[in-house]
Each structure stands twice: as C-alpha cells, then as structure tokens.
C-alpha cells in the first residue's frame, strides 16, 4: 500500500474529522458492493479501508507519522456481498415483494422484447419478436440471370412469391425479400426470405466476371479470307467482322455485349474465340488441293517453341 494520506487525499495535518469525512466520501464512491460492475473497485476500496483503519486510530497514526510502522498489514480479509450476489446466490433478496416487483425471469424478458418493437402495438406484456429469416434455393436460366427477370417461387407452404431477379446476378448471390420469412411473434415483424441463386449453365455463353465468352465456329474460308458473320449475343445476333487470317483461338471483342453491372457500372464485353471448322462432308477435290499445296509448302506448326510441351 502506498501512503495512506495520499490514498484518502489528505495532508499530514488532517484532523480526525477530515479523515472521517474523506473516508466516507471515498467509501460511498468505491464500495465494491455498490459498484458490482467495476473490477478495480474492490482493490481500491481495500486500500481506502486500510488507510482509514490506520489513520483513524490515533495511536497507529502517531506511530506511522513517526515512521515506526509502515502502511502494510492493516488490511482485513473480507468477502464482499457482490461476489455472492453475482454468483447467483441472492435470489432470496431479489424476488421479494418488499424490495422488487415479484416478476419472474420470463416476464422480465418478455418486457425486454416488447420494448424493442415500441409502437408496433404489441399486447401488454406479450412476447414480441421478429420472425426468423428463411432461406430458399432457386435455379434460374443463364439469360434470365444476365438480363434480369421476374420469377415465381412457390413456397413449401403453398404461397407463391414473385421474385425480381436483377440483371447481372450470379451464382451464390442472394436476393432478400423483406418481410417474406417466418412470421413474427406477438405482433413482431416477419423475417426475410433469402433466395440463394444458382445460375444454370448455357450451351453457348460462358460467364467470366461481367464478360461473356463464346466459341464461334467459322469456315476455313472465313478464317483465312476474313468476312462478316452473325454472332449470337445475349441481346440477339449481331454482325461482326472476322479479320483476314484469323487463326483458331483468335479472340475478338464485342464491346458492351457482356453482363450489365449490378449497380449502374459499365457493362461487360463479349469475347468471341474463333474456331475454324473443316468442311462438313469429305470432299475429294478439297483433299487433293490440300495435299498438293502442303507438298509444295512444307511446314510444321509444332516446331515453334511455344508448342513444345514435353
């Protein structure tokens, strides 16, 4: 313990009355039983009590002032009320008409929840609680996810919900329908319906963030000579120019033909990968031409270092 005068906020010349007053003031403020939530109140109060025990005894105080004793050892061990009360032993002193309303735990918490929704018209003392959220899963076609749609979801209880699918939604995202979950208790608001979206794959289109990718079959002539072709997009077919000499794997971009950004951002693009295909039926003349042409123009596309795999 440090200097008892200091702990009580007194000078060495303090009178007995000063000491008593200082102690009373501090005891009112720091008594642990009057401060159940303050962890440090107990240590503080013990110091205050010990200081008072020393200074309020004229003989001990005189000896301390002369330096014959120090401030330690004046503390008496003690169990405070708050320790027992907070350990749950004070039921006897709580649920008694004399001091506290004879309310039981349940009605206390009912009040607590009723207050939360104040103004909502809950029955007096009734248990009022918001309903829980309910999660549903919904599979939607690829194009509905890209362009947005309104879908009807039939719930297990027979109710039907119209769900507005925002354009650009992706698998794993959730649509929240406010107030369509479980009903509340005691007049509390309903919870929300959470609809987890799974987007079905598309035969042609693949999604890559906000871009769309497709493979576009072209004839050897279109690949070699270039030309205008019709390309499917999520908005319908559009014209696109294949540049001359477009090899297999060449990627062309259709700006702004991708997925709309959810919150007004820039729309993605569509990337078209050129895939030249051979003529659909075998043709002796074409085969003869190819054989002769390669005989006079020998080449090995696998000789370039990039295709060297093993």
């Amino acid at each position: 313990m440090t200097d008892p005068y200091e702990i009580l906020g007194l000078s060495k010349s303090a009178s007995d009355e000063d000491i008593r007053k200082a102690y009373r003031k501090l005891a009112k403020k720091y008594h642990p039983d009057l401060n159940p939530g303050k962890a440090d109140a107990e240590a503080r109060f013990k110091d205050i009590s010990a200081s008072y025990a020393l200074l309020s005894d004229p003989e001990k105080r005189a000896r301390f002032d002369r330096g014959e004793i120090d401030a330690s050892g004046a503390e008496t061990p003690r169990n405070f009320y708050r320790g027992f009360a907070d350990a749950g032993g004070a039921g006897r002193y709580g649920a008694e008409e004399h001091f506290v309303d004879n309310e039981d735990l349940e009605s206390f918490f009912s009040d607590l929840f009723a207050h939360r929704g104040a103004g909502g018209g809950a029955a007096a003392g009734g248990f009022r609680m918001r309903g829980g959220n309910v999660t549903y899963a919904m599979r939607i076609p690829f194009l509905d996810a890209v362009k947005g749609a309104r879908k009807r979801l039939t719930l297990p209880d027979g109710r039907a919900l119209d769900v507005d699918i925002p354009a650009g939604i992706n698998s794993g995202q959730t649509i929240r329908l406010k107030g369509q979950g479980s009903p509340g208790l005691g007049g509390g608001p309903s919870g929300d319906a959470l609809i987890e979206i799974e987007v079905e794959p598309h035969d042609l289109f693949r999604r890559d963030g906000n871009d769309i990718r497709i493979d576009l079959p072209v004839t050897l002539a279109e690949a070699l000579l270039g030309g205008k072709v019709r390309v499917p997009t999520v908005d319908g077919a559009v014209a696109m120019t294949i540049p001359k000499g477009a090899n297999s794997g060449t990627v062309l971009r259709l700006k702004g033909k991708g997925v709309p950004a959810p919150k007004g951002g820039a729309r993605g693009d569509q990337y078209v990968t050129v895939r030249p295909v051979l003529p659909s039926s075998p043709d002796a003349e074409f085969e003869e031409f190819i054989r002769r042409w390669y005989d006079s123009h020998p080449q090995d596309p696998r000789s370039n270092p990039g295709s060297n795999t093993e």
Binding site: D33, G37, F80, F84, H98, F109
Partner: protein, 115 residues
Amino acid sequence: MMALEQVLATVGRVNRHDLTLWIERRWVRPHHEAGGYVFTELDVARITLICDMRHDMAIDDEAMPVVLGLLDQVYGMRTRLRHLADAVAAQPEEVRLAVAAELKRQIRRDDEDRL
C-alpha cells in the same frame, strides 16, 4: 452456515438488538430452523455491507430500505442480463453476430444522441 452469535462475533459492528431488528424488517433474511437463525456467507456479507453503509456512509434507518431496494434491483438486473448474455451465447454464430451488430448500432446511436 453460521448461528447468530457467530455472525455477531464475525461482523463485529452490529449488536444483537440491531441485527434482530434488521431481520424483522427483512433487510436480512436468514433461514429459520429449529435451533434459530442460520446465516449463509451471503447473509454475512450483506450484514457487513449494511454496517458499512450505516457507519461509513451515513445511511440511516430511513434511507436504508431505499438503498437496499435499489441494490437488490441492480443485482437482480445483473443476474438477468447474465441469463440474456448466456442465451445469446448459446445461439448459432449467425445470430450472435447479428445481435452484436445490432448492439453496436444501438450504442452508436446512444453516443450520437449524447453529442
């Protein structure tokens, strides 16, 4: 468990007359058995607290029931809050996080109101 005599000796600052009066006023509520009153450690701590308030805080017999009533309400509230906290702690993480977020929101709102 202590008998009345032991309590008087342990606490030191209360006499038989006063303690009997406190029991009659129900400030202190020991069990009553065939051999007389039986005090638990909780009762002894409560008697000590009443002594502190009487002697060191100048709370007189008029004010004492008011203070004890408020004190019992504070401890009752603390018990209930602990039950509430335990009930929240027993919920799935999603619910606990939602409660924590809502609490944070409420506290922030209260702070803003104070400004």
